[in-house]
Symmetry: D2
Subunit: 305 residues, 4 copies
């Protein structure tokens, strides 16, 4: 088989999961920003490392790590979207052979501990409700920005039906007009390039999008988790003019009515067993009418989940 | 080696991690209780199953599961401590050969989703900050009750020193008078038997103990994580007369000052890297003076962590 | 903002992580196949569920689950690639509005327990070394098949250098001509459509690809993890004519030489500390020359990892 | 409540999860030892750190970390039991106020990668089947040693019954004379003090105990998982005269026969769904007749699991 020949296809490399904690201590009232950052670079010139082990164009992953912490000092964080943009600009402008890359972040939120009814200046407790997500991608000279959230776990104890589906050879599920619906929301929303150029208040956008997602989950009378997903996305895009599209992965975290009728007990939607696997998995995208597609924005971004 | 003989030592068996979700829907305003329950039984008569496969005294683990869900309907939950007590009483009174056992629970808290500024009636978002713990143990006719919390992640960006330790052959750590101190608190507190007999408001106790733990973590100027631990325990016992003792496992979640001096940048406690492993692990118990030891309360309870 | 309008973008839905264990017991010598299967469907007609909660075309996720287990009885498993193909054909042929979908599997391998030097007929121990992966994707009438492996953890204690990289403002990493190199290989390889049409012995291909990957990791003197990755991919494609391309995600699991020189001890590559985060992350694709791209094959497949 | 007084109860502290990789490279054929080590110290003199933040007797956890790596160079590993003993002796002899402690290890096994039919000199693949465990405990001048294993996942596709259990108000489980039985074995065995004093070949003991556990799981016709556990323990103690006792935690990893009778298909123990939670949890100890109890050996050791 000596005549088999191959070539290098899509690739990127960098340093993953840099756990940056940035304290702002300009006054006695400290601020904390807590992130998990991944930096990865792309460029034709990097092929040498793959093909022959020529590292003369490889900005070492250790160098990428150092850069993250140095730039966090120089420029502060502000928001994950802003800080990833700082990183993207640094790497693409400092090395002419770095054509682009993907920068990703998770951000963990902290609340101030309350002492005698007042927020403490420098003591915090991790919030634990949802993790903020962000990506900045540079491809062919264009910069794409997404925000997002994951692990936002929600549940409605009523206001959810599931009916009208085809009854096939292998269908045994009974229809229901009242069930628990629960999911762990993962959402990523893409900001419109014009909005990014004009400047977005990413923190405000994050707060409002997550607020709207929760609110919509609550108020929609659900006929299917698909419908809930779509209404959540529609509400988010309606609320924030900066959003081009939003995509979701929403597992249907099943809560089964426990059969206690066998023991002469009535179960009017009161006693459930929460199941782990398997689970329904609903994924979908809601897009603002009239915006251009941007597949480059989503290149190598975790697909739906 | 045909003359080797053995016997059965300590043992228990049951059904672990029953994920019970209990909805109270007496009115349009639903309540949710979300638990992960483990039930395990002990008794001399159970030896037959181990020794010869004689199951005539084995209350099947599947039966234990059914029982949990049936009793959740009959009696409600109320608090994990109360519901585990219901289970303990059921099993020890229904089967005369069941001498005791260990019942454990985790409870996940939910908050109501806010819609138009008001708490929604039946839509919830998981709080995510700390998980409530409880155990009920029956040994030799005595019932022991503990409450607890885990995964309560806290951090102080200043107000922590670490100095004065021995400088040995293998010591390289520099002393510091200002560092980040962070930990994920696991705590279990034992209720005094008299308090249990008189009736404890376990929910109120949980709320106050966790509040006091947070507050104390914030206000103590820390000379060592050990000292912080002790002050937290002392404050909890002082605050709640029902508590006999409290034990803690507190990992020292290291946040290292990132060395950006190499790049001509000053780091005045602003840029840190959070490390995963290894980590300091401080474990200790604070005991109210004058109370009796109760080793049976802690039998087979996860040790410190 | 009442004039904001949106539409549904890319989506799919189904049942995830169905844990199928299939025993073949035609003789006293049982065979075991242990899989984790996800089935998800796509089709224009499914939009109604998202847009209006019209479920008349929704093959319920519960139905998909039942189908997996029923077809496992009817057709057996054989290989994950084969069984996912059976599922794909079932769903796309049984429901004319199901245009395609993505079916994914993990497979866990088991070894027979050895008793008195002989393999036991029906007792197994889980192998634990690497998890087999497979996907079948149907898009626009075309079927794409990939195989893969994850969690294949490898390490070389010498035979790895890293030198010649640019020394930038933020570079502090010293060059090395002898380091530990370790990674957890995730690889997915796409089978050529013609090979799929002609019939592939997927099990044999899996065994040989993983064998070649290990062998190549061992024999390549590594100048960069990138180069190791490329040589592994090249060897796999050379070894198996059915392969169109192979893509990898290879974290650089850092093992740092522990500085015991501070204690007057010499460390000639003998004592290392394994670090968790951050880690280098090298991702790349090796493609057989002359084959057509197939982006549909990779739609929604976990990107690199 | 100013009159509440408390005291310090049981405690220990140290550095957890030190990931030591030790390469022996005396020849071209390297050896690898890969461990996760936790060191924790006890002593009355350590109370000052808890009570007043007096660290003058605190051997810093960072110092404990350095010591682990330094001693790994000086003395090699050999076996986890031996290396933990080296650590225990070092800490208790170097600091007269360190009265004892608990040292724990996990060890991950590696196999040589095969190249052209031969084991490679310095390239390894992680075995992944079971993790070796060890503890050394020093209390009141006595040293206790345990070995162990976890995550050893086993399954029998037949040769398991479960019958004869009481049918109570909440019993719905049907009896079965043929089921899948599967578990993930966690076992810890205590070595006799005399054997420790005389010298144990811990590696050989580990290999034989795990071999015997697997063999016994295979050959016992199981009437209950309890019975299987007991027979496994009895066989281990019979096989190795160094063992005083062995304790097990064995979750009953349920595999339910999937009901495909609803689709007109017969399921003769061929198609199962593996379930995650809840699960049976069987824990028990098998003790050699005539040996003394040693509760100190198990102090703070993870209970059963």
């Amino acid at each position: 088989m000596s005549d088999v020949t191959v070539h290098l296809g899509p690739n990127k490399y960098g340093k993953a999961e840099n756990r940056l904690v940035r304290i702002t201590r300009d006054s006695a009232r400290h601020e904390i920003e807590d992130l998990n950052i991944t930096s990865q670079l792309r460029g034709e010139a990097l092929a040498g490392s793959f093909l022959t082990g020529d590292n003369s164009r490889i900005v070492a992953t250790d160098t990428q790590k150092n850069t993250i912490f140095a730039l966090a000092k120089k420029h502060g964080v502000g928001s994950p979207e802003r800080f990833l943009t700082v990183l993207a600009e640094h790497f693409t402008s400092s090395f002419d052979w770095i054509e682009g890359g993907l920068w990703q972040a998770e951000q963990y939120e902290w609340e101030r501990i309350v002492v005698d009814g007042a927020d403490h200046d420098h003591s915090f407790v991790r919030k634990g409700q949802g993790t903020r997500l962000a990506t900045v991608q540079v491809v062919d000279g264009a910069t794409h920005v997404t925000g997002g959230v994951k692990d936002l776990v929600v549940l409605k104890s009523t206001g959810s039906e599931f009916r009208g589906y085809p009854k096939t050879e292998y269908t045994t599920l009974p229809e229901t007009d009242d069930r628990i619906i629960a999911t762990s929301v993962t959402a990523r929303w893409r900001y419109l390039p014009d909005a990014v150029a004009d400047g977005v208040d990413y923190g405000e956008a994050y707060a409002e999008v997550t607020r709207v997602l929760l609110e919509q989950f609550a108020v929609v009378h659900s006929l299917a988790l698909q419908q809930t997903l779509y209404e959540m996305g529609k509400a988010a895009i309606t609320a924030r003019p900066e959003l081009a599209e939003i995509r979701f992965a929403m597992p249907n975290k099943h809560h089964f009515v426990y059969d206690i009728g066998r023991f002469g007990l009535e179960n009017n939607g009161e006693v459930f067993i929460a199941d782990d696997r398997p689970y329904g998995l609903i994924e979908g995208t809601v897009v603002r009418d009239g915006v251009d597609d941007a597949p480059d924005a989503w290149r190598d971004v975790p697909t739906f989940i």
